[in-house]
């Protein structure tokens, strides 16, 4: 009987553990769905602000399909106009019109400079890259601890805060050694129409870039379906044709 008394909790943990993780992953999936329609087009502005108050701004047109296909066109400034980036799961490419061919880039690089890296700008669904390890709950929010599914992901661990309506509020990004790399804060809930209600502003700061602030502002998010071929290297030079 004594044996059973300590075996029972162990048994319960071993059975409930995967169930809880499964529930956490389901919750993460719902948070992703509230954040973005499965396929959409959007216009975003990225502002890199320096401690001295100087700012640099970029405007992007983005097309996304499914969980892990993102194509992006730089609309301004003039020095970057016409550049495109493509992400297919772990693969990322950059096309520069002058160079005339897509080159492979990595999620850790930053094409725009500032605090956002390529993985932040070409963000795919969180549940594509992460598994939920732990779910906590307070009166007003969920707190999720996420672990990268593999080593190709930009951040090894994430800590995520979401409202009880399953709308994302904040994400902390950690390296494999547990160091906090950056914090993303999701603000200004906005109704974009066609059932899309999501934060329209993401503010990012990092202990590695003291005093710098990068902000991403969504102006339009519209569900739209795209052909699979839009997310191929040959299409990178022709993305402008999608805007209509």
């Amino acid at each position: 009987m004594k044996k059973i008394s300590w075996l029972l909790p162990l048994l319960l943990i071993s059975v409930m553990g995967p169930v809880m993780a499964q529930d956490g992953n389901q919750l993460l999936k719902r948070i992703d769905e509230k954040l973005m329609p499965e396929s959409y087009e959007s216009y975003r502005k990225l502002i890199n602000a320096e401690p001295n108050g100087r700012k640099k701004e970029f405007v992007f047109y983005t097309a996304k399909k499914g969980k892990d296909k993102v194509a992006m066109l730089y609309l301004s400034p003039a020095s970057e106009k016409g550049r495109t980036t493509l992400r297919l799961g772990d693969n990322m490419w950059l096309y520069i019109p002058n160079v005339g061919k897509p080159i492979r880039i990595t999620s850790l690089q930053s094409i725009t400079g500032g605090v956002f890296n390529n993985a932040d700008i070409m963000q795919v669904d969180y549940n594509t890259e992460y598994d939920v390890e732990k779910t906590e709950e307070t009166e007003s929010e969920y707190i999720l601890s996420l672990k990268a599914k593999n080593k190709t992901v930009a951040y090894d661990k994430l800590k995520m805060w979401a409202t009880k309506n399953e709308i994302l509020k904040k994400v902390e990004c950690y390296s494999a050694s547990g160091m906090l790399i950056k914090t993303l804060e999701f603000k200004e809930l906005k109704n974009f129409g066609q059932g899309v209600v999501r934060p329209s502003v993401i503010e990012t700061h990092s202990p590695l870039y003291k005093g710098y602030l990068s902000t991403m502002i969504y102006s339009q998010v519209k569900p739209r379906s795209f052909k699979e071929e839009v997310f191929t290297m040959n299409y990178m030079s022709k993305l402008e044709g999608l805007r209509k």
Binding site: Y43, V59, K101, T106, G113
Partner: protein, 421 residues
């Protein structure tokens, strides 16, 4: 109280301003030709190598000071008209040295049409950039000639017809497949306008995204030029490390060299290849390294024969011999990679010590045949939007009979400002 209210209202408005922006209107773009481009104002200082035969030939019987300078404006103007399915694109280059000296080049002028969303037709003059290498492209059969010292420089395209077919499969190992077929009229024309139809060149490329690896198989068929076929690949082995390679096989390639001061030609079969990597470390330093070998290049002894030929033309004191040697050099030995084995290394540090928009780099081009090299220190700074400054000193070093040691300049210093619009 009113003051406080105004302050709050102003604060709220300023905040609203921060979080709103105007989406560039696609509808307007649809109806108009959109112009863009850049203006480079460039100043160059070059330290002469007066003992070099190339220098002596270029500035024959002109006593000049040790340091030469050049000031010019490069103007790149692009025009794009794009609707949903049809686009027309124009890229021009104008170089202005002064009212008496200006160059103009049409880099691109082509139209593209989407036939079915999976296939495209491009007609006109278009710049292609085949291959995965940064400084060298053995499989760049349709590419303009690249300057390895500045491989990103815009270049003139090829007059051609290009059909592209792309299919996304996304099942298992194979994600995408695409086919490129290019028809290029012969460059050998009569009166610059008419060419023989049977001399039309055909180039083809099959691209596969297979096991997260970019793979291209390509071929080039011509009755006039040598036939070539090969492949390339590129893959991120870990998020911070990309590897790439190219292999090309050529047949009947004319190869020029000098023997006993006379130009010789032989047609050879052979191959050229490269392999390289791009690595991003935790300091945000990107290192690109490449090794390239070309069987058709000159050997060390052949290059020395070429130098000897130029030296003899200089010492002859004969204007006709000088002019003939210059022409031979330009026509048969004008390739930026004349010899067989090269190493390319570029280390760039994006935004070191949180200095935003500042990128210093070190670049080395090393000739393994004769141990000569060119080494540069390009530094780029973008202080405000649409303005970039580049400071780029380069030295050319090696023995007197080596490729870089025989250049007409010991070094040069380029300073330019680019305005984008």
């Amino acid at each position: 109280m009113t003051g406080l209210f105004c302050l709050l209202l102003f604060g709220a408005l300023a905040r609203a301003d921060d979080y709103s922006f105007e989406v560039p209107p696609a509808e307007t773009t649809k109806e108009t030709l959109e112009l863009s481009g850049s203006l480079d104002a460039r100043y160059l200082l070059a330290k002469s190598r007066k003992g070099s035969a190339l220098y002596a030939l270029q500035y024959y019987s002109r006593p000049l000071s040790d340091v030469l300078s050049s000031y010019r404006a490069d103007f790149y103007l692009n025009g794009d008209y794009q609707t949903g399915d049809v686009g027309v694109h124009l890229k021009t280059y104008s170089g202005y040295y002064g009212s008496s000296q200006a160059d103009f080049d049409l880099h691109e002028l082509y139209g593209n049409v989407s036939i079915s969303g999976t296939s495209f037709l491009l007609l006109g003059q278009k710049m292609y950039n085949w291959g995965k290498g940064y400084a060298f492209n053995p499989v760049g059969y349709v590419n303009p000639q690249k300057d390895p010292e500045n491989p990103d420089q815009a270049q003139s395209g090829l007059l051609s017809m290009n059909y592209q077919y792309t299919k996304s499969i996304a099942s298992g190992a194979l994600d995408n497949i695409s086919v490129d077929l290019i028809l290029a009229p012969s460059a050998n024309t009569i009166n610059g306008k008419v060419a023989e139809a049977e001399n039309t060149d055909i180039a083809g490329k099959l691209y596969l995204l297979l096991w997260n690896t970019d793979i291209d198989l390509m071929g080039y068929y011509s009755r006039v030029n040598p036939e070539e076929y090969g492949f390339d690949f590129s893959r991120n082995v870990i998020p911070s490390l990309e590897i790439h390679g190219e292999y090309s096989r050529f047949t009947n390639l004319p190869r020029y060299y000098l023997l006993n001061d006379s130009l010789r030609t032989e047609n050879i079969d052979g191959s050229s290849y490269l392999f390289g990597f791009r690595w991003l470390n935790s300091w945000n330093i990107t290192t690109i390294g490449e090794y390239c070998q070309n069987e058709a290049g000159l050997s060390k002894a052949e290059f020395e024969q070429y130098q000897d030929f130029l030296d003899k033309a200089v010492s002859s004191g004969n204007n006709i011999a000088v002019s003939s040697a210059l022409n031979t050099g330009k026509t048969y030995f004008g390739d930026p990679n004349l010899m067989r084995e090269y190493l390319y290394l570029k280390v760039s540090w994006q935004e070191p010590f949180n200095m935003l928009y500042f990128t210093p780099a070190v670049q080395l081009l090393y000739n393994l045949d004769d141990q000569s090299y060119s080494a540069g220190l390009p530094v780029s700074y973008k202080p405000i939007t649409n303005l970039e400054f580049v400071f780029w000193p380069v030295v050319f070093a090696g023995g007197s009979n080596t490729e870089y040691g025989s250049k007409q300049y010991e070094g040069k210093m380029d300073l330019w400002a680019t305005f984008y619009f």
